[in-house]
């Protein structure tokens, strides 16, 4: 099971607690995690990546194992600690102030 941490608004949208555990088939990559997340929670479709380009939304970043992994290739394997569930895959929204 992969653990995924979602930002406030996506948790609210999907009626979830802070963290969700999901089964990811095959290699654990960014694409595979988001595919599994969207399959289980269809209301999240289009909110993390753009429909037409598949690109991560510009105000979001992905973190794991205290590293910013946003710029890894979508199909690059993620660290074993993420694949095993020891560490969460974190989807983080940009801060905004005012």
């Amino acid at each position: 099971m992969v653990r995924v941490e979602l930002p406030f608004h996506l948790r609210k949208l999907a009626s979830l607690d802070r963290e969700v555990s999901i089964d990811v088939a095959g290699a654990v990559t960014q694409r595979a995690i988001i595919d599994a997340l969207e399959a289980r929670y269809p209301m999240l479709r289009g909110t993390i990546r753009d429909y037409s380009t598949d690109k991560r939304r510009p105000f979001l970043r992905f973190f794991a194992c205290e590293e910013d992994i946003s710029f890894l290739q979508l199909d690059a394997p993620l660290p074993d600690a993420v694949a095993s569930g020891a560490e969460p895959f974190m989807i983080v929204g940009a801060l905004s102030g005012g």
């Binding site: 608004h9 209301m43 909110t47 753009d50």
Partner: protein
């Protein structure tokens, strides 16, 4: 008629305001989806409990909500707005070609006959249609594919399709307005479109006969006279009596005719409301006085309506989607401001009161007479 429900879209959530037919006492809901922008919410005229809502923010993009119980509960519906075919380019602010990119839904227009059919006006400008209650959306691509499409350029708010009108007497006829491409009409259910801009003059367009490029802010009609259109253009209040084939200026005695909203009295097709704004460089009322102007003559002769509205130190704006009317015996007129106030006149504009005054900036106001 037992009551009124007002659907308010704001920068930080949606709100539902409810009252009985007297419109004296109001209940204001908690924020719905707090923190998200709501550009528009609108209910089906066939099933008033079916409400569609455009939910969006810069982090997570566009999502869509639907309620089947008058806003008590909501479900997320389809948010896949993909342009048909290769999107091509429109004109960017600097005149260079720019790819069409979907950004958000500005306007929702439920069908007059089927609660599962709804149209969406989006940025970058296009019209989409769903026939399954908002689950799936298909572009009516004849609009964006019009031979002027590559010349369309955004206004300061983006290249947004913000107005959709469905002709109640001719179900094949639709109108749309786009900032700042202009206005278009379809007479075949949205397959093909033609610009309806003859008679519009915009100082920043060198060609006096330009078909596109006019910054139309809003169009309204009375359902009993759908060939008579009223338009608030960037500057100028306009009128057409032939379904947009020719427009004439009806700003008349207005001191300023810049503004965003325009709407028509529920029972008097020649009574029109606007909220003039000082200028396109200063988006607030003239002299700090919030005034609605009413014409009972279909334009040209305008009277200021000020009773109950702030007449000093008022520097809010009223955005294009933020005015509507109810259809009670004495027509109610409602508008929301960027200062978070929602005002109501229960006597067709003669006097005003605040329903709620500290909401987030109001983007849209839609009224249901129940």
């Amino acid at each position: 008629m037992s009551g009124v429900r007002v659907l308010v879209g704001t920068r930080k959530g949606a709100f539902i305001l409810t009252s009985d037919g007297k419109r004296d006492k109001w209940e204001v809901s908690e924020p719905l989806f707090g923190g998200w922008q709501f550009y528009h919410l609108k209910a089906s005229p066939v099933d008033p409990n079916r409400i569609y809502a455009s939910q969006q923010n810069d982090w997570f993009g566009q999502t869509m909500q639907r309620s089947n119980d008058g806003g008590k509960t909501w479900e997320t519906v389809g948010n896949k707005f993909l342009y048909e075919g290769v999107p091509g380019t429109h004109q960017w602010y600097d005149g260079t070609p720019h790819p069409w990119e979907f950004k958000r839904v500005w306007h929702l227009e439920p069908s007059l006959t089927d609660p599962d059919t709804v149209y969406a006006g989006v940025e970058d400008a296009a019209i989409f249609k769903s026939t399954d209650g908002g689950q799936n959306w298909l572009e009516l691509s004849g609009l964006r594919g019009h031979n002027t499409g590559s010349q369309w350029a955004p206004g300061a708010g983006g290249l947004c399709l913000h107005t959709i009108l469905l002709d109640p007497k001719n179900h094949s006829r639709l109108y749309v307005a786009i900032s700042s491409a202009g206005a278009f009409r379809s007479d075949d259910g949205g397959k093909t479109w033609k610009p309806i801009t003859r008679g519009l003059h915009s100082k920043y367009i060198p060609d006096p006969n330009a078909e596109v490029g006019h910054c139309v802010h809003r169009i309204a009609f009375h359902p009993s006279k759908p060939d008579t259109l009223f338009m608030q253009k960037h500057w100028d209040v306009m009128r057409s009596d032939n379904a947009g084939d020719l427009w004439t200026k009806v700003s008349g005695n207005l001191v300023t005719d810049f503004g965003f909203v325009i709407d028509v009295h529920a029972h008097e097709p020649e009574t029109v409301y606007i909220v003039p704004i000082k200028s396109d460089a200063e988006h607030y009322p003239l002299d700090g006085k919030l005034q609605v102007f009413r014409s009972r003559t279909g334009g040209n002769e305008w009277e200021p309506l000020t009773k109950g509205l702030p007449q000093s130190n008022c520097y809010v704006n009223v955005l294009r989607e933020a005015m509507d009317v109810d259809s009670l015996d004495k027509c109610g007129v409602y508008f929301g401001t960027t200062g978070g106030q929602v005002y109501l006149s229960a006597d067709a504009g003669d006097s005003w009161k605040t329903i709620v005054h500290d909401l987030p900036p109001v983007i849209s106001v839609e009224v249901q007479t129940l």
